[in-house]
Amino acid sequence: MSAAHDEHGHHHREPESVLSLRVRALESLLVEKKLVSSEAVDRLVSAYEQDIGPHHGAKVVARAWVDPAYRARLLADGTAAIEELGFGGVDLQVVENTPGVHNLVVCTLCSCYPHALIGLPPVWYKSFEYRSRAVREPRVVLREFGVDLPASTEIRIWDSSAELRYLVLPERPAGTERLSEAELAKLVTRDSMIGVAVAQPPAAAAR
């Protein structure tokens, strides 16, 4: 818990901080008074860590990268394909980035978003600015997000609605042939599944 990494990657123990001790004292008192249970706290922390983030979507993308048959099913029927992995509750169309095509998802009306897969939408996704400019000047918006596409790349805009949500299948980064599915999933960011970023190889992703 208080293990830390220094620049050389060695593990060492640090003395437990004052705040950490105080929080443990607080938890012990609240457990004693039966106001909380440590198990409930464990469950909640893990649920918020898992469900707020893009973990489910990242698993879907990583599977599609390693399994061509799954990829085909995912593109043909997103809703059914994510159910295979145990995710659901959303009507989904998956759109695939290729060398000549980049996809970008927006909800021009409000903030429709595939929560079950990529967590809760970032504040900018709900902003009027993004909702209007993503359609009007996607290339400029993408450049502001750090994605500079060649003029020859076609940009497709997908307008999410209450009935149908979109998820971008980003291109698998070059040089990742040896990575496992779980390792690949770590390269898949929320932004790459909205289309405002591209998935980066491990060295770049760690930066």
Binding site: M1, S2, S17, L19, S20, L21, R22, V23, R24, A25, L26, E27, S28, L29, L30, V31, K33, L35, V36, S37, S38, A40, V41, D42, L44, V45, A47, Y48, E49, Q50, D51, I52, G53, P54, G86, F87, G88, G89, H115, A116, I118, G119, L120, P122, V123, T189, R190, D191
Partner: protein
């Protein structure tokens, strides 16, 4: 599948918004996750309404900013949580101080 987290909690957007990276919650140290989890658990158990805690948190952040305290987001969260529990009569400051000393001295090492 687990139910989705409460929008009321996850969607806080003001100064009190949860720290995130790539959309995920960021807990730099384990205790930050514990204090977050305890607060959410007690609001689920209806010990208090989430907006009550939120109001305390906003107030605590404003106070810390006014005083120029370099405290972290979750340190402020901890103060706000302790204050709310004290207001509700759920926590005795002296008992917490004593229990904290027990942990510091190593007399106690487990939360149970």
């Amino acid at each position: 599948m687990e139910p989705l987290p409460s929008r009321e909690i996850a969607d806080m957007t003001g100064v009190e918004a949860l720290p995130r990276k790539n959309g995920e919650l960021v807990f730099d140290e384990a205790w930050q996750g514990r204090i977050f989890g305890m607060t959410v658990a007690m609001s689920h158990e209806a010990c208090f309404a989430w907006r009550e805690f939120q109001a305390h948190l906003i107030e605590e952040i404003a106070h810390a900013e006014r005083e120029g305290e370099p405290s972290s987001y979750y340190e402020r969260w901890l103060h706000a949580f302790e204050q709310l529990l004290a207001d509700k009569g759920l926590l005795d400051a002296a008992a917490l101080a004593e229990r904290t000393r027990d942990f510091e001295s190593g007399r106690r090492d487990d939360v149970f």
